[in-house]
Symmetry: C2
Subunit: 203 residues, 2 copies
């Protein structure tokens, strides 16, 4: 069983190793990774060892191999179809976020209770009332909730009953889901509060 702390570090390893690979670096040691990520070499080796031995004694880690292993661990070796619910500021911004595509995440549709236009950034905007039918017709791996907080839970319930298993939640509420459904939160206000706390206690 992999601990939360380790899981949270995996994306950081992946991002750094991808950067090394893109820069043409072909090998790296736990020590070098640790220095950049501001952790210990022991921790890097322990973390990676959880998933098998990707390194070689006396040599280090092959960058391309490690990048590919991390991609598999994180599930980034395949593609994901996503929908966004809520065409407000955040929802619209996410349709235009190019970074998703590079990692294999594709925004296929946008839903809103009051669609003001038929498409945004090339993504078709549907009426919320059509979501159930859309989900019946179209395989959907991830649903992004970008609604007001009041409707987040009911939207989640509707998504789940239509078979959606993964939810990425941008609404500032905790969403209750049954076992087997995953929620990952982007909590902007919590992040801002932490910033405010640190600013207050700065020195």
């Amino acid at each position: 069983m992999i601990s939360e702390a380790v899981i949270k570090r995996l994306p950081r390893y992946y991002r750094h190793i991808k950067h090394l690979a893109d820069s043409g670096v072909d090998k790296v040691s736990s020590n070098k990774i640790a220095t950049v990520l501001n952790i210990t070499a022991s921790q890097v080796r322990q973390d990676l060892c959880n998933f098998g031995g990707f390194g070689q004694q006396g040599y280090g880690y092959d960058v391309v191999k490690l990048k590919n292993e991390l991609a598999v661990i994180l599930g980034l070796d395949k593609e994901y179809d996503m929908i966004i619910v809520g065409a407000g500021n955040i929802g619209r911004a996410l349709t235009g976020y190019k970074g998703f595509r590079d990692d294999g995440f594709y925004v296929k549709a946008l839903f809103d209770i009051d669609p003001r236009c038929s498409s945004i950034n090339g993504i078709k905007v549907y009426n919320m009332g059509d979501m159930k039918q859309y989900l019946a017709d179209n395989h959907t791996d991830i649903a992004i909730i970008a609604t007001q907080k009041d409707s987040a839970q009911s939207v989640a319930d509707e998504l789940i009953s239509a078979g959606v298993k993964s939810i990425w939640n941008f609404a500032p509420v905790e969403i209750e889901v049954p076992d087997g459904v995953i929620v990952e939160n982007i909590s902007m206000s919590e992040s801002l509060y932490v910033l405010s706390y640190r600013a207050k206690n700065n020195n």
Copy 2:
């Protein structure tokens, strides 16, 4: 010295207690808080005790008092002037985010290398070249970096040299800052990778 783990829980306490206060609840026990937040009562008491004893034996915590204490701890008892750098999808979305104002965070200006319009959501858009002068003329507590990753570091350097002490970073890179400057990151891709990891290892 307050641990990172405690700091990360503070916003969750605040959010929940604010909700209780808004609902007219006047007292609460560590046990009830713990149940909602899915942690232990011991932990709630330990965490709060770090900042002083806000409760009363045999009674619990006065909701309004606790809310106010948490607001002070988090620095939410005052107002913050913010600017946003980068008028792309994210930058524009943030100008329209109403939630900030409720917590005392005000977006005062938006900067972009290529301003397409003079204002967005009522926020004036300036040319990046005018940022230095703006910061000299206007007190600014927090700068939000919403640029592409390539320019994030140079923007941060410019902000810091103009005296900005707190940076809220939405660009997908680690920003290097000198002592005394705070960076808090919103890392969408890391959050999405964690979701992808969990989806892959679901059951």
